[in-house]
Protein backbone atom coordinates (compact mmCIF):
# COMPACT_ATOMS: atom_id res chain seq x y z
CA UNK A 1 0.00 0.00 0.00
CA UNK A 2 2.81 2.33 0.82
CA UNK A 3 4.34 1.65 -2.56
CA UNK A 4 1.12 2.64 -4.28
CA UNK A 5 0.75 5.68 -2.13
CA UNK A 6 4.26 6.61 -3.14
CA UNK A 7 3.13 6.75 -6.74
CA UNK A 8 2.43 10.44 -6.55
CA UNK A 9 5.87 11.05 -5.18
CA UNK A 10 7.58 9.09 -7.89
CA UNK A 11 5.51 10.87 -10.49
CA UNK A 12 6.59 14.22 -9.16
CA UNK A 13 10.19 13.14 -9.62
CA UNK A 14 9.53 12.47 -13.29
CA UNK A 15 9.29 16.07 -14.39
CA UNK A 16 11.62 16.82 -17.26
CA UNK A 17 12.59 13.24 -17.95
CA UNK A 18 12.33 11.67 -21.35
CA UNK A 19 10.13 8.63 -21.83
CA UNK A 20 12.87 6.06 -21.30
CA UNK A 21 14.21 7.38 -18.04
CA UNK A 22 10.81 8.50 -16.82
CA UNK A 23 9.28 5.11 -17.38
CA UNK A 24 12.25 3.47 -15.73
CA UNK A 25 11.82 5.57 -12.61
CA UNK A 26 8.15 4.78 -12.53
CA UNK A 27 8.82 1.10 -13.15
CA UNK A 28 11.10 0.84 -10.17
CA UNK A 29 8.48 2.39 -7.91
CA UNK A 30 5.34 0.92 -9.41
CA UNK A 31 6.13 -2.44 -10.97
CA UNK A 32 5.37 -4.60 -7.96
CA UNK A 33 2.43 -2.57 -6.63
CA UNK A 34 0.83 -2.61 -10.06
CA UNK A 35 1.34 -6.36 -10.47
CA UNK A 36 -0.24 -6.83 -7.07
CA UNK A 37 -3.13 -4.61 -8.04
CA UNK A 38 -3.70 -6.56 -11.26
CA UNK A 39 -3.41 -9.83 -9.36
CA UNK A 40 -5.98 -8.80 -6.79
CA UNK A 41 -8.34 -7.85 -9.58
CA UNK A 42 -7.84 -10.84 -11.85
CA UNK A 43 -6.39 -13.57 -9.61
CA UNK A 44 -3.80 -14.67 -12.15
CA UNK A 45 -0.14 -13.97 -11.35
CA UNK A 46 1.28 -14.47 -14.83
CA UNK A 47 -1.63 -12.66 -16.37
CA UNK A 48 -1.07 -9.82 -13.92
CA UNK A 49 2.55 -9.39 -15.00
CA UNK A 50 1.50 -9.39 -18.64
CA UNK A 51 -1.15 -6.79 -17.99
CA UNK A 52 1.27 -4.51 -16.17
CA UNK A 53 3.99 -4.91 -18.79
CA UNK A 54 1.46 -3.91 -21.42
CA UNK A 55 0.53 -0.94 -19.27
CA UNK A 56 4.15 0.20 -19.04
CA UNK A 57 4.57 -0.22 -22.78
CA UNK A 58 1.48 1.89 -23.28
CA UNK A 59 2.79 4.46 -20.84
CA UNK A 60 6.12 4.72 -22.61
CA UNK A 61 4.37 5.32 -25.90
CA UNK A 62 1.99 7.85 -24.42
CA UNK A 63 4.64 9.69 -22.44
CA UNK A 64 4.79 12.73 -24.64
CA UNK A 65 1.01 12.97 -24.78
CA UNK A 66 0.36 12.94 -21.07
CA UNK A 67 -0.89 16.25 -19.82
CA UNK A 68 1.57 16.18 -16.97
CA UNK A 69 4.06 13.80 -15.52
CA UNK A 70 1.96 13.70 -12.40
CA UNK A 71 -0.70 12.04 -14.52
CA UNK A 72 1.61 9.14 -15.32
CA UNK A 73 0.88 7.11 -12.22
CA UNK A 74 -2.85 7.66 -12.57
CA UNK A 75 -2.70 6.73 -16.24
CA UNK A 76 -0.78 3.60 -15.35
CA UNK A 77 -3.30 2.58 -12.71
CA UNK A 78 -6.24 3.12 -15.06
CA UNK A 79 -4.50 1.16 -17.81
CA UNK A 80 -3.90 -1.73 -15.43
CA UNK A 81 -7.54 -1.77 -14.34
CA UNK A 82 -8.69 -1.67 -17.96
CA UNK A 83 -6.21 -4.41 -18.84
CA UNK A 84 -7.56 -6.70 -16.15
CA UNK A 85 -11.09 -6.09 -17.39
CA UNK A 86 -10.17 -7.10 -20.92
CA UNK A 87 -8.25 -10.14 -19.73
CA UNK A 88 -11.07 -11.29 -17.50
CA UNK A 89 -13.69 -10.73 -20.17
CA UNK A 90 -11.80 -13.01 -22.53
CA UNK A 91 -11.07 -15.52 -19.82
CA UNK A 92 -14.71 -15.80 -18.73
CA UNK A 93 -15.83 -16.40 -22.30
CA UNK A 94 -13.21 -19.01 -22.97
CA UNK A 95 -13.63 -20.78 -19.67
CA UNK A 96 -17.37 -21.04 -20.11
CA UNK A 97 -16.87 -22.81 -23.40
CA UNK A 98 -14.16 -25.08 -22.10
CA UNK A 99 -15.55 -25.89 -18.70
CA UNK A 100 -19.13 -24.68 -18.35
CA UNK A 101 -19.68 -26.38 -15.01
CA UNK A 102 -16.23 -25.99 -13.54
CA UNK A 103 -14.98 -23.69 -10.86
CA UNK A 104 -14.94 -20.19 -12.22
CA UNK A 105 -11.78 -19.30 -10.44
CA UNK A 106 -8.29 -20.62 -10.87
CA UNK A 107 -6.45 -19.83 -7.69
CA UNK A 108 -2.77 -19.16 -8.05
CA UNK A 109 -0.39 -21.17 -5.94
CA UNK A 110 0.67 -18.04 -4.13
CA UNK A 111 -2.80 -17.48 -2.80
CA UNK A 112 -2.58 -20.66 -0.77
CA UNK A 113 0.00 -19.02 1.41
CA UNK A 114 -0.64 -18.80 5.08
CA UNK A 115 -3.60 -16.68 6.00
CA UNK A 116 -6.22 -17.10 8.60
CA UNK A 117 -9.66 -18.44 8.03
CA UNK A 118 -11.33 -15.09 8.36
CA UNK A 119 -9.13 -13.59 5.67
CA UNK A 120 -9.75 -16.48 3.32
CA UNK A 121 -13.49 -16.03 3.66
CA UNK A 122 -13.16 -12.33 3.00
CA UNK A 123 -11.14 -13.04 -0.12
CA UNK A 124 -13.75 -15.53 -1.28
CA UNK A 125 -16.38 -12.83 -1.02
CA UNK A 126 -14.19 -10.35 -2.87
CA UNK A 127 -13.64 -12.81 -5.70
CA UNK A 128 -17.35 -13.29 -6.11
CA UNK A 129 -18.18 -9.62 -6.16
CA UNK A 130 -19.29 -8.09 -9.46
CA UNK A 131 -16.40 -6.52 -11.31
CA UNK A 132 -16.99 -2.92 -10.34
CA UNK A 133 -17.56 -3.68 -6.69
CA UNK A 134 -14.38 -5.73 -6.63
CA UNK A 135 -12.44 -2.92 -8.25
CA UNK A 136 -13.77 -0.41 -5.75
CA UNK A 137 -12.93 -2.64 -2.80
CA UNK A 138 -9.39 -3.33 -3.99
CA UNK A 139 -8.68 0.28 -4.83
CA UNK A 140 -10.20 1.48 -1.56
CA UNK A 141 -8.81 -1.02 0.92
CA UNK A 142 -5.60 -2.14 -0.70
CA UNK A 143 -4.50 0.84 -2.75
CA UNK A 144 -5.91 3.26 -0.20
CA UNK A 145 -7.44 5.58 -2.76
CA UNK A 146 -10.09 8.13 -1.95
CA UNK A 147 -13.54 7.98 -3.50
CA UNK A 148 -12.59 10.71 -5.92
CA UNK A 149 -9.42 8.91 -6.96
CA UNK A 150 -11.28 5.66 -7.44
CA UNK A 151 -13.89 7.45 -9.50
CA UNK A 152 -11.19 8.95 -11.70
CA UNK A 153 -9.46 5.61 -12.09
CA UNK A 154 -12.64 3.78 -13.06
CA UNK A 155 -14.11 6.61 -15.08
CA UNK A 156 -17.29 6.77 -13.04
CA UNK A 157 -18.87 9.29 -10.68
CA UNK A 158 -18.04 9.40 -6.96
CA UNK A 159 -21.67 8.46 -6.34
CA UNK A 160 -21.22 5.28 -8.30
CA UNK A 161 -18.17 4.45 -6.24
CA UNK A 162 -20.09 5.04 -3.04
CA UNK A 163 -22.94 2.84 -4.23
CA UNK A 164 -20.61 0.04 -5.28
CA UNK A 165 -18.81 0.17 -1.94
CA UNK A 166 -22.08 0.02 -0.03
CA UNK A 167 -23.29 -2.95 -2.08
CA UNK A 168 -20.00 -4.72 -1.54
CA UNK A 169 -20.25 -4.24 2.18
CA UNK A 170 -23.76 -5.67 2.11
CA UNK A 171 -22.38 -8.65 0.20
CA UNK A 172 -19.79 -9.17 2.94
CA UNK A 173 -22.47 -8.94 5.58
CA UNK A 174 -24.80 -11.31 3.76
CA UNK A 175 -22.06 -13.84 3.17
CA UNK A 176 -21.00 -13.82 6.78
CA UNK A 177 -24.58 -14.21 7.98
CA UNK A 178 -24.94 -17.19 5.67
CA UNK A 179 -21.86 -18.72 7.23
CA UNK A 180 -23.31 -18.16 10.67
CA UNK A 181 -26.54 -19.87 9.66
CA UNK A 182 -24.73 -23.04 8.59
Amino acid sequence: VDEVAAGGGSASRLAGRDAASGVEVLCRAQWKPMVRLAYLLCGDREGAEDIVQDAFVALSRRWDHLRSTDAAAAYLRTTVVNGTRSAMRRRVTTRRLLDPVGDDRVEAAESTAVRNDEQRRVLDVIRRLPRRQREVIVLRYWAGLSEAEIAATLGVSPGTVKTAAARARRAFQSSMEDDDAR
Binding site: R61, N82, P130
Partner: protein
Protein backbone atom coordinates in the same frame (compact mmCIF):
# COMPACT_ATOMS: atom_id res chain seq x y z
CA UNK B 1 -18.65 -16.42 10.54
CA UNK B 2 -19.60 -13.60 12.83
CA UNK B 3 -19.53 -10.13 11.36
CA UNK B 4 -16.17 -8.66 12.36
CA UNK B 5 -16.36 -5.61 14.53
CA UNK B 6 -14.04 -3.82 12.15
CA UNK B 7 -14.86 -5.02 8.67
CA UNK B 8 -12.63 -2.40 7.11
CA UNK B 9 -9.63 -3.72 8.98
CA UNK B 10 -10.40 -7.32 8.05
CA UNK B 11 -10.78 -6.50 4.37
CA UNK B 12 -7.57 -4.52 4.34
CA UNK B 13 -5.68 -7.26 6.16
CA UNK B 14 -6.99 -9.93 3.81
CA UNK B 15 -6.04 -7.98 0.72
CA UNK B 16 -2.61 -7.15 2.11
CA UNK B 17 -1.98 -10.80 2.96
CA UNK B 18 -3.11 -11.90 -0.47
CA UNK B 19 -1.05 -9.30 -2.28
CA UNK B 20 2.04 -9.91 -0.17
CA UNK B 21 1.82 -13.66 -0.78
CA UNK B 22 2.54 -13.01 -4.42
CA UNK B 23 6.03 -13.74 -5.68
CA UNK B 24 6.80 -11.20 -8.35
CA UNK B 25 9.64 -11.32 -10.83
CA UNK B 26 12.12 -8.50 -10.43
CA UNK B 27 11.63 -5.68 -12.85
CA UNK B 28 14.15 -5.35 -15.65
CA UNK B 29 14.09 -1.85 -17.08
CA UNK B 30 14.96 -3.09 -20.56
CA UNK B 31 11.85 -5.20 -20.74
CA UNK B 32 9.59 -2.35 -21.76
CA UNK B 33 11.82 -1.04 -24.49
CA UNK B 34 12.51 -4.51 -25.88
CA UNK B 35 8.85 -5.35 -25.77
CA UNK B 36 7.92 -2.09 -27.45
CA UNK B 37 10.61 -2.41 -30.12
CA UNK B 38 9.41 -5.90 -31.01
CA UNK B 39 5.87 -4.69 -31.28
CA UNK B 40 6.89 -1.68 -33.33
CA UNK B 41 8.95 -3.74 -35.74
CA UNK B 42 6.16 -6.20 -36.28
CA UNK B 43 8.61 -9.02 -35.65
CA UNK B 44 6.85 -10.14 -32.58
CA UNK B 45 4.09 -9.11 -30.30
CA UNK B 46 4.08 -8.73 -26.56
CA UNK B 47 3.19 -11.63 -24.37
CA UNK B 48 3.94 -14.51 -26.72
CA UNK B 49 3.40 -17.10 -24.03
CA UNK B 50 0.07 -15.67 -23.12
CA UNK B 51 -0.95 -15.32 -26.75
CA UNK B 52 -0.04 -18.90 -27.48
CA UNK B 53 -2.10 -19.91 -24.52
CA UNK B 54 -5.07 -17.99 -25.81
CA UNK B 55 -4.67 -19.47 -29.25
CA UNK B 56 -4.74 -22.95 -27.78
CA UNK B 57 -7.75 -22.13 -25.67
CA UNK B 58 -9.46 -20.63 -28.67
CA UNK B 59 -8.89 -23.78 -30.69
CA UNK B 60 -10.23 -25.94 -27.91
CA UNK B 61 -13.20 -23.64 -27.59
CA UNK B 62 -13.97 -24.12 -31.25
CA UNK B 63 -13.99 -27.88 -30.78
CA UNK B 64 -16.34 -27.61 -27.82
CA UNK B 65 -18.59 -25.22 -29.66
CA UNK B 66 -18.73 -27.39 -32.75
CA UNK B 67 -19.63 -30.41 -30.67
CA UNK B 68 -22.43 -28.65 -28.91
CA UNK B 69 -23.58 -26.55 -31.88
CA UNK B 70 -23.36 -23.51 -29.68
CA UNK B 71 -22.41 -20.31 -31.41
CA UNK B 72 -18.80 -19.58 -30.69
CA UNK B 73 -18.16 -16.46 -28.72
CA UNK B 74 -14.80 -15.53 -30.12
CA UNK B 75 -12.19 -15.25 -27.41
CA UNK B 76 -10.60 -12.27 -29.08
CA UNK B 77 -13.63 -10.54 -30.48
CA UNK B 78 -12.80 -7.00 -31.47
CA UNK B 79 -13.59 -4.40 -28.88
CA UNK B 80 -14.94 -0.93 -29.39
CA UNK B 81 -14.08 1.67 -26.83
CA UNK B 82 -15.09 5.02 -28.15
CA UNK B 83 -15.57 7.34 -25.24
CA UNK B 84 -18.88 9.13 -25.05
CA UNK B 85 -18.56 12.82 -24.45
CA UNK B 86 -20.59 13.54 -21.35
CA UNK B 87 -23.48 15.87 -21.75
CA UNK B 88 -23.50 15.89 -25.51
CA UNK B 89 -26.28 13.34 -25.98
CA UNK B 90 -29.13 12.05 -23.93
CA UNK B 91 -28.73 8.41 -23.06
CA UNK B 92 -31.58 6.10 -22.09
CA UNK B 93 -31.48 3.26 -19.61
CA UNK B 94 -32.41 -0.12 -21.03
CA UNK B 95 -34.65 -2.56 -19.20
CA UNK B 96 -32.20 -4.63 -17.20
CA UNK B 97 -31.90 -8.06 -15.70
CA UNK B 98 -29.36 -6.68 -13.24
CA UNK B 99 -26.67 -9.01 -14.47
CA UNK B 100 -23.07 -8.00 -13.85
CA UNK B 101 -19.88 -9.66 -15.08
CA UNK B 102 -18.92 -12.65 -13.01
CA UNK B 103 -22.49 -13.47 -12.01
CA UNK B 104 -24.18 -16.67 -13.11
CA UNK B 105 -25.64 -16.75 -16.59
CA UNK B 106 -28.02 -18.99 -18.49
CA UNK B 107 -26.63 -21.12 -21.28
CA UNK B 108 -28.61 -19.98 -24.30
CA UNK B 109 -26.79 -18.06 -27.02
CA UNK B 110 -28.25 -15.13 -28.93
CA UNK B 111 -26.89 -13.64 -32.09
CA UNK B 112 -28.30 -10.78 -34.11
CA UNK B 113 -27.85 -7.24 -35.28
CA UNK B 114 -28.28 -4.55 -32.68
CA UNK B 115 -31.28 -2.25 -32.98
CA UNK B 116 -32.95 0.22 -30.68
CA UNK B 117 -35.94 2.51 -30.71
CA UNK B 118 -37.72 4.93 -28.47
CA UNK B 119 -41.19 3.70 -27.58
CA UNK B 120 -43.34 6.20 -25.71
CA UNK B 121 -40.23 7.84 -24.36
CA UNK B 122 -38.65 4.59 -23.22
CA UNK B 123 -35.69 2.93 -24.85
CA UNK B 124 -36.08 -0.52 -26.26
CA UNK B 125 -33.18 -2.44 -27.73
CA UNK B 126 -33.05 -5.90 -29.23
CA UNK B 127 -31.00 -8.28 -31.34
CA UNK B 128 -32.27 -9.35 -34.74
CA UNK B 129 -34.58 -7.92 -37.32
CA UNK B 130 -37.76 -8.16 -35.25
CA UNK B 131 -38.34 -5.96 -32.25
CA UNK B 132 -38.51 -8.24 -29.25
CA UNK B 133 -38.43 -7.44 -25.54
CA UNK B 134 -34.93 -7.84 -24.19
CA UNK B 135 -33.37 -7.35 -20.81
CA UNK B 136 -29.81 -6.05 -20.75
CA UNK B 137 -27.02 -6.31 -18.21
CA UNK B 138 -26.94 -3.76 -15.42
CA UNK B 139 -26.04 -0.24 -16.42
CA UNK B 140 -26.27 -0.59 -20.19
CA UNK B 141 -27.84 2.30 -22.04
CA UNK B 142 -28.54 3.50 -25.55
CA UNK B 143 -28.45 6.80 -27.29
CA UNK B 144 -29.82 7.87 -30.64
CA UNK B 145 -28.67 9.84 -33.67
CA UNK B 146 -26.62 7.79 -34.15
CA UNK B 147 -28.08 4.78 -32.40
CA UNK B 148 -25.45 3.29 -30.14
CA UNK B 149 -25.27 0.79 -27.31
CA UNK B 150 -23.30 2.13 -24.37
CA UNK B 151 -21.50 0.14 -21.73
CA UNK B 152 -21.85 0.96 -18.02
CA UNK B 153 -18.48 2.68 -18.17
CA UNK B 154 -19.79 5.09 -20.80
CA UNK B 155 -17.99 3.61 -23.77
CA UNK B 156 -19.79 2.88 -27.00
CA UNK B 157 -19.99 -0.87 -27.36
CA UNK B 158 -21.91 -1.21 -30.63
CA UNK B 159 -23.72 0.80 -33.23
CA UNK B 160 -26.98 0.23 -35.06
CA UNK B 161 -26.63 -2.85 -37.25
CA UNK B 162 -23.57 -4.29 -35.53
CA UNK B 163 -23.84 -7.99 -34.84
CA UNK B 164 -23.72 -9.02 -31.22
CA UNK B 165 -23.38 -12.36 -29.53
CA UNK B 166 -24.86 -12.81 -26.11
CA UNK B 167 -25.36 -15.51 -23.57
CA UNK B 168 -28.55 -15.63 -21.54
CA UNK B 169 -32.01 -17.13 -21.78
CA UNK B 170 -35.72 -16.50 -22.05
CA UNK B 171 -37.51 -15.19 -18.97
CA UNK B 172 -40.88 -13.56 -18.24
CA UNK B 173 -40.84 -10.23 -19.98
CA UNK B 174 -42.03 -7.86 -17.25
CA UNK B 175 -40.80 -4.34 -17.76
CA UNK B 176 -39.06 -5.20 -21.02
CA UNK B 177 -42.36 -5.85 -22.79
CA UNK B 178 -43.85 -2.64 -21.46
CA UNK B 179 -40.82 -0.66 -22.50
CA UNK B 180 -40.89 -2.12 -26.01
CA UNK B 181 -44.60 -1.56 -26.44
CA UNK B 182 -45.40 -5.22 -26.88
CA UNK B 183 -47.40 -7.74 -24.93
CA UNK B 184 -45.31 -10.86 -25.30
CA UNK B 185 -44.89 -12.95 -22.20
CA UNK B 186 -41.22 -13.69 -22.50
CA UNK B 187 -38.11 -11.63 -23.04
CA UNK B 188 -34.55 -12.40 -23.97
CA UNK B 189 -32.40 -11.93 -20.91
CA UNK B 190 -28.98 -11.01 -22.25
CA UNK B 191 -25.89 -11.29 -20.11
CA UNK B 192 -22.36 -11.42 -21.44
CA UNK B 193 -22.13 -9.55 -24.72
CA UNK B 194 -19.59 -9.85 -27.50
CA UNK B 195 -19.30 -7.71 -30.57
CA UNK B 196 -18.83 -9.24 -33.99
CA UNK B 197 -17.50 -6.92 -36.62
CA UNK B 198 -20.08 -6.21 -39.29
CA UNK B 199 -20.75 -3.57 -41.93
CA UNK B 200 -21.73 -0.21 -40.59
CA UNK B 201 -24.00 1.95 -42.66
CA UNK B 202 -22.68 5.23 -41.33
CA UNK B 203 -19.08 4.50 -42.18
CA UNK B 204 -17.81 7.06 -44.58
CA UNK B 205 -14.36 6.65 -46.01
CA UNK B 206 -12.40 9.85 -45.63
CA UNK B 207 -10.84 9.15 -49.00
CA UNK B 208 -12.43 7.04 -51.64
CA UNK B 209 -10.49 3.84 -52.23
CA UNK B 210 -11.56 3.90 -55.86
CA UNK B 211 -9.03 6.63 -56.46
CA UNK B 212 -6.23 4.48 -55.19
CA UNK B 213 -3.39 2.78 -56.91
CA UNK B 214 -1.10 0.21 -55.43
CA UNK B 215 2.61 1.01 -55.75
CA UNK B 216 3.77 -2.58 -55.68
CA UNK B 217 1.59 -5.09 -57.41
CA UNK B 218 1.54 -8.68 -58.51
CA UNK B 219 -0.93 -9.30 -61.28
CA UNK B 220 -2.78 -6.20 -60.21
CA UNK B 221 -2.64 -7.19 -56.55
CA UNK B 222 -0.57 -5.59 -53.83
CA UNK B 223 2.35 -7.88 -53.12
CA UNK B 224 2.78 -9.16 -49.57
CA UNK B 225 5.83 -8.59 -47.44
CA UNK B 226 8.08 -11.36 -48.67
CA UNK B 227 10.43 -10.91 -45.73
CA UNK B 228 7.67 -11.69 -43.27
CA UNK B 229 8.14 -14.88 -41.38
CA UNK B 230 5.53 -16.14 -38.99
CA UNK B 231 4.43 -12.83 -37.60
CA UNK B 232 0.74 -12.96 -38.38
CA UNK B 233 0.30 -16.69 -38.64
CA UNK B 234 -0.15 -16.87 -34.88
CA UNK B 235 -2.95 -14.33 -34.92
CA UNK B 236 -6.60 -15.11 -34.64
CA UNK B 237 -8.64 -15.68 -37.78
CA UNK B 238 -11.70 -13.51 -38.24
CA UNK B 239 -14.83 -14.87 -39.84
CA UNK B 240 -17.08 -11.82 -39.89
CA UNK B 241 -17.44 -10.10 -43.28
CA UNK B 242 -15.88 -6.96 -41.88
CA UNK B 243 -12.67 -7.11 -39.91
CA UNK B 244 -12.68 -4.19 -37.49
CA UNK B 245 -9.51 -2.76 -36.02
CA UNK B 246 -10.00 -0.26 -33.22
CA UNK B 247 -7.27 2.33 -32.83
CA UNK B 248 -7.06 3.22 -29.16
CA UNK B 249 -4.45 5.21 -27.24
CA UNK B 250 -2.25 2.15 -26.87
CA UNK B 251 -2.33 0.66 -30.33
CA UNK B 252 -4.62 -1.34 -32.53
CA UNK B 253 -7.03 -3.90 -31.17
CA UNK B 254 -6.59 -6.55 -32.35
CA UNK B 255 -2.97 -5.90 -33.20
CA UNK B 256 -3.02 -8.47 -35.98
CA UNK B 257 -5.46 -10.74 -37.79
CA UNK B 258 -5.75 -13.57 -40.25
CA UNK B 259 -8.34 -12.74 -42.88
CA UNK B 260 -9.94 -14.25 -45.94
CA UNK B 261 -10.33 -12.86 -49.42
CA UNK B 262 -14.04 -12.16 -49.09
CA UNK B 263 -13.65 -9.94 -46.05
CA UNK B 264 -13.13 -6.21 -45.84
CA UNK B 265 -11.27 -3.89 -43.51
CA UNK B 266 -12.80 -1.41 -41.10
CA UNK B 267 -10.91 0.99 -38.86
CA UNK B 268 -12.23 2.96 -35.90
CA UNK B 269 -10.46 5.88 -34.27
CA UNK B 270 -10.93 5.43 -30.53
CA UNK B 271 -7.80 7.25 -29.48
CA UNK B 272 -9.88 9.14 -26.95
CA UNK B 273 -10.63 5.99 -24.95
CA UNK B 274 -9.33 5.59 -21.41
CA UNK B 275 -9.83 9.27 -20.63
CA UNK B 276 -7.34 10.42 -23.24
CA UNK B 277 -7.76 13.50 -25.39
CA UNK B 278 -7.64 11.55 -28.63
CA UNK B 279 -6.03 12.55 -31.87
CA UNK B 280 -6.81 12.54 -35.53
CA UNK B 281 -4.97 9.66 -37.16
CA UNK B 282 -3.90 8.89 -40.67
CA UNK B 283 -3.94 5.29 -41.79
CA UNK B 284 -1.95 3.73 -44.60
CA UNK B 285 -2.81 0.34 -45.95
CA UNK B 286 -1.81 -1.57 -49.06
CA UNK B 287 -0.63 1.48 -50.92
CA UNK B 288 -4.12 2.94 -50.95
CA UNK B 289 -4.48 6.67 -50.43
CA UNK B 290 -4.05 7.52 -46.75
CA UNK B 291 -7.26 7.85 -44.82
CA UNK B 292 -7.65 10.43 -42.12
CA UNK B 293 -9.91 9.58 -39.22
CA UNK B 294 -11.06 12.14 -36.73
CA UNK B 295 -11.74 11.06 -33.17
CA UNK B 296 -14.62 8.61 -33.13
CA UNK B 297 -14.74 8.31 -36.90
CA UNK B 298 -14.75 4.96 -38.68
CA UNK B 299 -13.91 4.00 -42.20
CA UNK B 300 -14.58 0.84 -44.16
CA UNK B 301 -12.60 -0.16 -47.21
CA UNK B 302 -15.05 -0.92 -49.97
CA UNK B 303 -13.11 -3.65 -51.69
CA UNK B 304 -12.78 -7.25 -50.64
CA UNK B 305 -9.23 -8.15 -49.61
CA UNK B 306 -8.86 -10.59 -52.49
CA UNK B 307 -9.55 -7.89 -55.05
CA UNK B 308 -6.45 -5.88 -54.19
CA UNK B 309 -4.16 -7.95 -51.96
CA UNK B 310 -2.04 -10.94 -52.89
CA UNK B 311 -2.04 -13.69 -50.25
CA UNK B 312 0.50 -13.14 -47.52
CA UNK B 313 1.33 -10.56 -44.93
CA UNK B 314 0.35 -6.91 -45.26
CA UNK B 315 0.50 -4.09 -42.78
CA UNK B 316 -1.75 -1.37 -41.45
CA UNK B 317 0.25 1.70 -40.49
CA UNK B 318 -1.20 4.30 -38.15
CA UNK B 319 0.33 7.76 -37.97
CA UNK B 320 0.35 8.20 -34.21
CA UNK B 321 2.23 4.96 -33.62
CA UNK B 322 5.30 5.90 -35.60
CA UNK B 323 6.83 2.97 -37.38
CA UNK B 324 4.49 0.42 -35.87
CA UNK B 325 3.07 -2.07 -38.30
CA UNK B 326 -0.02 -4.08 -37.55
CA UNK B 327 0.00 -7.22 -39.68
CA UNK B 328 -2.88 -8.68 -41.62
CA UNK B 329 -2.32 -12.11 -43.09
CA UNK B 330 -4.46 -12.84 -46.12
CA UNK B 331 -4.91 -16.57 -46.45
Amino acid sequence: MTMPADLDRVITAALLAEADSLTISEWTPDAVSVRDRKRASGQSRPGPARRRSWTALGAAALVVAAATTVTVLAARAPEKHVAVSPGTTVTYALPSNGWTPGAATMDAAFRGSFHAALVDGHACAWLGDTRAPSLWPAGWRVRFNPTQLIEPNGHVFASEGDTLLASGGQIPSGSAAAQCGGNTKSAASLTELELVAEPHASDTPAVSPSSSSAPTSTGGLVAPDTTATETARGCSPYKAPIVTFTIDPDGMRPDCAIVGGTQRLRLVNATNAYHQHGVTVTVNFAGLPPRTLKIGQATTYDKLFATYLAPGQHYVQVSNFGDSNFPIWLK
